[in-house]
Amino acid sequence: MDLYQELILDHSKRPQHAGLREPFDAQVHHVNPTCGDEVTLRVHLSGSDPSATVEDISYDALGCSISVASTSVLAQECLGHSVAESLQTFAAMRAMLTSKGADRGDETVIGDGVAFAGVSQYPARVKCALLGWLAFTDALVRAGVDITPAEAGATP
């Protein structure tokens, strides 16, 4: 089945940048109430404005292959980038995931995230793929970044 791309399986078996590290500016804990998947995620930023660098994303993800792999891709694609770039990556990822198959994703923006294009065909799994990303935007807000509810993923 096209849902389980090799990239997804690789990321779920070997999640990049996994584990909880110090220092961090904010820590959040998000759950998917339908299945009990959980992620604890920390961010460490060089500042709180859009040009600040995401110095670290560390996390402990407990869940299905889709949610773990998506959190791994998040860390891989956003670490070392600016807050503004990270939010663009998130917006592109979310647009693809909620497109019901219409948006196949742009590799230059979301990198390994394109492996999740198939997830958008399975509405029940979109939440799994967004779990880590929504935790990330929540953590940015708690770290003092001024982003709108729409940017934080309040309503797609």
């Binding site: 089945m1 849902l3 399986l9 339908t34 299945c35 299905c64 292959s65 889709i66």
Partner: protein, 427 residues
């Protein structure tokens, strides 16, 4: 016990085929044209023509607001609604006047829980000196309303833990049931473990300390012959949609003197006796607990489901489902990379088999099975604390009904065999 093997025969292949012919949805295909293998009846069952036709007949011939108006249709609607109540009562061994129609089992359990905090006199009053006992295997519907009752009244919530084998730890019962216990709420059959609890023993233990026994019968009434009054409990809640009936209807059964003593839960039209601007008095049960225009069509559909199940014979439905449980347990036992939750002995369980695949999350297991046309439940099945107690995040559950076949268990097991390779966990 209602769960002992009665000697009834499972359905023959010809009978099974005829039963399946009664359920139109079973002919549809899913995911790339594969036949639907529906193993999620524990979440909600499919509906036979008899139920669909009964609802349609009600709407096409007699639809009106029951218990209102004096015109012919209203009289017919009232009669249909009250006949349905009596039919449902007969199905579970209870007189009509002890059957309260609710939106679902969740509402039925809330109705009892709210009686405790709404009462100002009598045995339903509750305060910080009192205790509520539940079990660690409850569905959220039979846990959260009691947590909320404890929060509202200051009463203490306690629970019976599980044995490693997935049964209630009855050795702890003596210490947990005390003269402070006002209510003991427990499930008949666990919706995850499949465990059949010793209801009579639990009800007697509750009564020995003066507590009321509230039974969640959602996973027993659709699958076993159940005589609620004979089980010794005081209240029982179950849903219509899990027993081949429509969605949007469930029932609370309660012993008459207790229902008489209970204050209303939802208030408004239908449930009143006399209304003045300052205050009102209320109708006797069951009307006292049925505020607003009732779900008459769903009640009629549910009565048709009772008729259909009685036509099959609940002993035979149970015998058939036990065969399916045994086949699933046997098949899963041959796969060392699968861990079954709950008792390994089929005679101690009913209706479903939940399991964990080593190294693969339940969502991923379910997705692969779905791709093969096999629909089953993944997640915590509204029993999150139970999953925590078992040390698992989520599980996959295959659950059965009268229309499920041994062939479908075979399709399910074959599809399950593709899981380890896809996720590289080896088999």
């Amino acid at each position: 016990m209602t769960t002992t093997v009665t000697g009834a025969a499972p359905f023959t292949a010809a009978e099974s085929a005829a039963i399946r012919g009664d359920f139109p949805i079973l002919t549809r295909t899913v995911r790339g044209g594969r036949p639907l293998v529906y193993l999620d009846s524990g979440a909600t069952s499919q509906k036979p023509y008899a139920v669909l036709d009964a609802e349609r007949a009600y709407y096409t011939t007699s639809n009106a607001a029951p218990h209102r108006g004096a015109h012919l249709l209203s009289e017919e609607a009232t009669a249909a609604y009250e006949r349905a109540r009596a039919r449902l009562g007969a199905f579970v061994g209870a007189p009509a006047h002890e059957m309260v129609f609710t939106k679902n089992a969740t509402e039925a359990l809330n109705l009892v829980a709210y009686a405790f905090s709404n009462a100002t006199v009598g045995r339903f009053t509750m305060d910080r000196r009192d205790e509520i006992l539940v079990t660690a295997m409850e569905h959220h519907a039979n846990l959260v309303p009691w947590q909320e009752l404890a929060r509202r009244t200051g009463a203490k919530l306690r629970w019976v833990d599980l044995t490693p084998g997935g049964e209630l730890d009855l050795t702890a019962l003596d210490g947990l049931l005390t003269e402070r216990t006002k209510v003991f709420a427990f499930t008949h059959v666990s919706n995850v473990l499949g465990t059949v609890n010793p209801v009579r023993e639990l009800a007697a233990a509750a009564h020995a300390v003066g507590a009321l026994a509230v039974l969640d019968a959602c996973q027993s009434v659709p699958h076993l012959p159940v005589d609620l009054a004979a089980l010794g409990v005081d209240f029982a809640a179950f849903s219509g949609h899990k027993m081949l009936g429509p969605m949007g209807i469930g029932a609370l059964w309660g012993r008459e003197p207790l229902l008489d003593e209970m204050p209303p839960f939802l208030t408004g039209g239908s449930m009143i006796e006399l209304v003045r601007m300052e205050e009102s008095t209320y109708a006797p049960p069951p009307q006292r607990f049925e505020a607003g225009v009732p779900m008459a069509a769903q009640a009629v559909g549910l009565a048709a489901a009772c008729e259909y199940l009685d036509g099959l014979g609940m002993e035979r439905v149970h015998a058939h489902e036990q065969l399916l449980v045994e086949a699933a347990l046997d098949g899963l036992a041959q796969r060392p990379w699968v861990r079954v939750l709950g008792p390994v002995d089929a005679t101690r369980r009913s209706g479903s088999v939940a399991f964990v695949v080593d190294g693969v999350h339940a969502h991923d297991v379910g997705q692969v099975l779905d791709d093969a046309g096999v629909a089953l439940r993944v997640g915590h099945h509204c029993a999150w604390p139970l999953h925590r107690a078992l040390g698992v995040t989520a599980s996959t559950r295959a659950s059965f009904a009268a229309y499920t076949t041994l062939d479908e268990i075979g399709t399910f097991l074959a599809a399950l065999d593709t899981v380890p390779a896809i996720f590289g966990t080896g088999a």
